[in-house]
């Protein structure tokens, strides 16, 4: 929030004394207020410390409890085992190549799937007829487990990057399509009527009202899509190919290298967090006009 806005609102308060300013530029969520009043000044930092402390305790238990109970490290490797295995993977298994492959395919699949899903969502939202004709098939496809198609794509396209990419696109596609379509169907009729009264064309109504109005739903779809993209690429790598973190899971499994499997899972989680974080950042920029307490 820029300072001129704040001063403008404050001026407004004095100029129109009895007219209340409903929302301040940076409203504080009710929950935050409650924490603030209860935990006094450093509440936010103390919560952060508590979170970190919990993580450390968890890692310590993981490190020492299984050996103390006599669980062998090929069942549950300790944290230090994982760290050793990680350095070995970097040195011997060309780990960076696998990470890069997974990140690239997840990102590309996510972007392509989002674009296709959003585009079809807008087309179906514009045309009631097409939507009615296609909706039973779309519903069927939406329910079908998309990752189960992975072996098919491998049979068709071979052991390369394409099956993984297509599975990723497919799993990302549907939640975004559904969200965009839903938002197109629920745009405020009065807003559309207002634009019509201003003699706007169908195309202008689409760009000036429907697209911006669908942004919150699109962003929610992208958040879901970001997490699904990692699942898609993982399944693709699990069933075919010889690159990627998903492949390292099957490879580690074959060698009874539990630590490698664990490490691959952890790294896949980080890839997911990365993608999700990127979407969250874009969302914060796109939806800046929605007060934070509501979002």
């Amino acid at each position: 929030m820029t300072s001129p806005d704040i001063s403008a609102v404050n001026q407004g308060r004095s100029a129109f004394g009895t007219e209340r300013v409903a929302t301040l530029p940076e409203p504080v969520a009710p929950g935050h207020e409650a924490i603030g009043s209860a935990g006094a000044l450093g509440s936010r930092t103390s919560i952060l410390f508590a979170s970190i402390a919990f993580g450390i305790v968890f890692l310590l238990i993981w490190q020492f409890l299984p050996p103390a109970l006599g669980v062998p490290s090929f069942i549950i490797p300790t944290v230090t085992d994982l760290a050793h295995e990680f350095t070995r993977m970097v040195a011997r298994e060309n780990l960076l190549k696998h990470i890069l492959s997974t990140v690239t395919i997840a990102t590309a699949g996510f972007i392509i799937g989002s674009l296709l899903g959003a585009a079809l969502g807008y087309v179906l939202g514009m045309s009631v007829l097409i939507e009615k004709v296609l909706s039973p098939y779309l519903l069927g496809l939406q329910i079908a487990p998309k990752v189960a198609f992975a072996p098919l794509f491998i049979m068709w396209l071979g052991y390369n990057a394409w099956p993984k990419l297509i599975v990723t696109i497919l799993v990302v596609f549907f939640p975004i399509l559904v969200n965009v379509l839903q938002s197109m169907k629920t745009v405020d009729r009065d807003l559309i009527n207002l634009a019509r009264a201003y003699s706007m064309s169908r195309w202008q109504i689409f760009w000036k009202i429907e697209v911006p109005a669908s942004m919150p739903a699109l962003m929610a779809g992208l958040r879901i899509g970001a997490t699904l993209a990692v699942i898609g690429v993982t399944v693709g790598e699990l069933v075919g190919g010889n690159t990627g973190l998903g492949y390292l899971i099957t490879f580690g499994e074959g060698q009874a290298n539990t630590a490698m499997v664990f490490n691959a899972i952890v790294l896949l989680t980080f890839v997911g967090i990365l993608l999700y974080g990127a979407v969250a950042m874009i969302e914060a920029r796109v939806l800046h006009y929605i007060p934070r307490a509501v979002r």
Binding site: D188, L191, A197
Partner: protein
Amino acid sequence: MQNTASVLDLIGVTKRFVAPGGGSALTAIDRVSMTVRDGEFVAVVGPSGCGKSTILNLVAGLDRPSEGRILLREVPVEGPNPSVGFMLQKDLLLPWRTIVRNVEFGLEARAISRAERRERALRELARCRLSDFAGSYPYQLSGGMRQRAALARTLAIEPAIVLLDEPFTALDAQTKLILQKSFAQTIASSQITTLLITHDLMEAVIMSDRILVMSERPGRIVEEIPVDLPDRDNPLARISAPRAREYVDHLLSSLHLEEKAA
């Protein structure tokens, strides 16, 4: 006012809606005739469901009458018309646009330059005393200020007539009074022709030159009451005038509200 030109004429306008199941048609308004003259402020009051909003949609060209004719400056209304501005209970500001960009919205279907659009929007914001908020987003404004911004957007298209559909209903009592005064000042100083649709009898009395009373569905105009009070630009002065109360009492009996409450 009698000799000035008419801006809006409804001549025997009937609107029927066909039920979705294909059943019998529902008559929303029945043979409504009225005239709004240049610079006049006319209020339409009536019970809920009497077809007040139907009139608005017909005049705005969003809907077509089943029978009768609607003339705007003696030209038949045949679709959305750039010389009609309308405002609803909801402010309908676009949350993703700043206030000044919201005011520009109505001008964007027209072939005018970006600079002129901005200039006109800023002028309307000044008229509605919102210049300081041009760069704010709607969520940063109070309900009353948002309605003023909506009025600025409505006036920016320089309409021949402004249709107000219960624009003060969603506001609290004090904000409502302040906003009524603010609207009355803006409208009086610019001599804008206005049709106000409301269920608030006092609002009709303190803001208008003339009140049309509608019956329950099917809506018909049952009475026409000229409001002979001074201070049309200041509803706060009118509200305390003893004769304003008399008008409201008359409207109450005209709508048979006491009998219904009994």
